[in-house]
Assembly symmetry: C2
Homo-oligomer: 301 residues x 2
Amino acid sequence: MSVRDRDSGKIEAVASGDGGLLTILCGGGAFPGAVAEAVQRRGRRVVLFGIRGFAEPAIVERYPHEWVYLGAAGRFLKLLRQHGSRELVLVGSVHRPRLTEIRIDWTTLRELRRYLQAERRGDDHLLSFFATELERAGYRVRGAHEVAPEILMPAGVLGRHRPGPAEEGEIRLGRQTIAALGPLDVGQSAVVVGGRVVAIEAAEGTAAMLERVAGLRASGRLHAGRRAGVLVKAPKAGQDRRIDLPAIGAETVRQAAAAGLAGIAVEGGGVIAADPQGLVRAADEAGLFVLGFEPGAGPKS
Amino acid sequence: MSVRDRDSGKIEAVASGDGGLLTILCGGGAFPGAVAEAVQRRGRRVVLFGIRGFAEPAIVERYPHEWVYLGAAGRFLKLLRQHGSRELVLVGSVHRPRLTEIRIDWTTLRELRRYLQAERRGDDHLLSFFATELERAGYRVRGAHEVAPEILMPAGVLGRHRPGPAEEGEIRLGRQTIAALGPLDVGQSAVVVGGRVVAIEAAEGTAAMLERVAGLRASGRLHAGRRAGVLVKAPKAGQDRRIDLPAIGAETVRQAAAAGLAGIAVEGGGVIAADPQGLVRAADEAGLFVLGFEPGAGPKS
């Protein structure tokens, strides 16, 4: 098994550093549960603050928890004080909310102008702004991957299949694409097929991009053999890794397979998965390689 | 009227340079007809070679013409000799063909290995390869915009509406995006909304990209007022302008309007339209600005 052993002592040493009760502010998806489980397994206490309308009740209610509304910063800070938690992580997806999912309180209102300036610059900036405000208030915001390194995709050939020389060239091109776009704050992933960049992710997300590639393929607009091409995913340069690392999952494997790709390449230590081992098993079964490339070895060539 | 006058003497002077009979190798869409009409209006004789399965019979048959199959290079060269034409343009769309649309003949077969190498690198390379082969055989391949400058979108504010300061910033960001991707041979257009790059065109084409933006908007995943954001389109750096300039049309205006954009910005003299004046009229009516930006004034800032 090439995915790092979850119970490895080395990881434990890196990841513990007890900061007392850890607050996990939970958006949607499986990540909050994966992080909570990993942190608790290390013997650290957690409290989950589920964001109403986004977090999965079935996950949140498995742990000591509270429910909070997006926008209600005053209540959120009061709950943090009540629980006596000084350290927190922000994890899970928060798509642009519907208005009914937001409760603006006085604390938020005071900050609203600056909040809206950040909001205009996109989700990353909004979360980054929120994290910075929390730190100004004396809290420590940690990356989910710092408290639960189990969720990081490691470097190396992670499954049974491996990229050939053509795919290695495609991975290079995909990395160059992501690197070129990083300064413009766009492009968390790209698909390269037949030596060409055929899709670049912007606001639509990875899933929609892979669906598009599947469509191009079905319509005959991409000529390529069965199982050709690579999904490449890496953090943008300068991305605030505390609050936003690119994520993949077993669903990504299924979508990459449906798009006819030969494999998936991610930056080792720079992309998260709720269950890296399960993801690799799914890829093994689907016949796709999963490669974690070294972040150091620059994509230029 | 801000679109350049079709009968301007200046354009005439640039564009004539009689090379005798001009062969127009015609793919799909309205461009072959627009080019044939403009060239004939200058008093130059044309013959249209329609590519079967792609060119519109209604356009091709309006002029002296031949029908050719994709892949039948031998017959194509023979027809060029028979007509005594030494100069040609390649114009119109040729999507990846179905096999029934191809007739590989002996001349093509001899070149097949090199052809396939070019084919692997994408449509641009394939056409560029074809143009280079023709030039090796003693023919002159000219850009459609050279023989028919009427199809070039000019520089300046082209219609009744003009971009505001926010849109000017978005145009800059779109240009930076296209410039960053050029060396990687991808990204002929991008959409910027609310100061963020929300979509980048790769193999799917401009129409599919704009449809995606319309979908993101409809699903509430892009927050922006009515009529916000810009489609930015420009040639890639190093693009072979003889055989492939980015194109827009009245349909692009309709799609940009459906995506809720405020306007369209193209590189002046670097993007073609079968009917630039009609396009600007359509934008005027739809409430969109159309800007041709100066290619010289670099997008960096």
